[in-house]
Symmetry: C2
Subunit: 199 residues, 2 copies
């Protein structure tokens, strides 16, 4: 792309490596950045560097945080005997937004996927088992995604934990609230039927 | 958003200011960046800073470049008597990709828009008129977008240049190549009819 200068090309290339950013979006972003005031550009780059340098895994639940122990794990008001297992920090945030769960979390940073070659050792499962051996835990709620990988991970974890006698549960699958049955896939409809509860 | 650490929140906020990046995409990008190797993050930030610090307007055609005079303006093999006027550097690149235009460009960095309060003084029009007064120019091809703003700008420029005796032309509007008439808007269809050429 000789019609752009090397600095512009380099920026476009770097931006196009980000997820969900194609060639056209990368161009648009690059020209937007070049027209931004210098102090705003400085804020952008320093926030990138700041996040990357300061954010680490919580020593307890493995979520991304800027402290050694994250605010949730270090909060005495939370119920530390109930652990919700999620695939990533965004899923943790999704449940936190509901404001209705007062237990703690464990973030796996992935899900088991034989297709992608991701095994149990590639996710933060060892750390979960160490927690269970050390802490007083009454229940582990598995809240991995309702995808093939999420289900595989849920099955694997439940088999691993069952022998310890700790209660293991799985969040319900079914029709989303406000969802129109007509537009929902068959697997979800069958799950909703299987999981029906008495009224 | 207390469930994320302050560094993560700051990064998400900064990213969500970029065009076409909503709250969800900003979260996804932020977590991607936090999982990137440090040297890749460094490359990303340095390319942002590098582009912003080194890229300037070409002294001749006003395109974004890292030299005082851009490679196109300093190329003796190009026909400097034909100037194509475009709205921005991406439009210049679009015509350069065709490889069929051997004149030079002038980049306006915008279009006249009374709605958005952008007047003739807010785009690089003065610079174009200075070029026309100074250089030997035979033709000015106006290649602003086929939008209301682009057309307004084209009309304005043509009225400004006509008295100087320099030839002014406008790129053709019509049905795009490979376009299916059925799906093309009425205005385009009318333009294509008006602009019909004898075979």
């Amino acid at each position: 792309m000789e019609y752009y200068s090397s600095h512009i090309n380099k920026l476009i290339e770097q931006l196009s490596h980000l997820p969900g950013i194609g060639a056209k979006s990368a161009q648009r972003l690059a020209f937007h950045i070049m027209n931004m005031p210098k102090d705003q550009v400085e804020q952008l780059t320093s926030s990138i560097t700041g996040a990357r340098e300061n954010v680490q895994y919580c020593k307890c639940c493995c979520t991304l945080t800027d402290r050694e122990i994250c605010p949730i794990c270090s909060n005495d008001k939370r119920d530390h005997s109930v652990i919700m297992v999620v695939e990533n920090t965004r899923d943790l945030a999704a449940y936190e937004k509901t404001g209705k769960f007062d237990g703690v979390y464990h973030v796996l940073h992935g899900a088991i996927s034989p297709m992608l070659g991701i095994g149990p050792d590639d996710i933060k499962l060892k750390e979960l088992m160490q927690r269970l051996a050390k802490d007083e835990v009454k229940e582990v709620i598995i809240a991995t995604n309702s995808s093939l990988e999420g289900e595989t991970t849920a099955m694997y974890i439940s088999k691993l934990i069952k022998p310890t006698g700790i209660k293991v549960s799985r969040i319900a699958s079914g029709v989303p609230v406000g969802g129109d049955l007509e537009y929902i896939d068959e697997v979800t409809l069958l799950r909703a039927l299987e999981g029906r509860v008495e009224l």
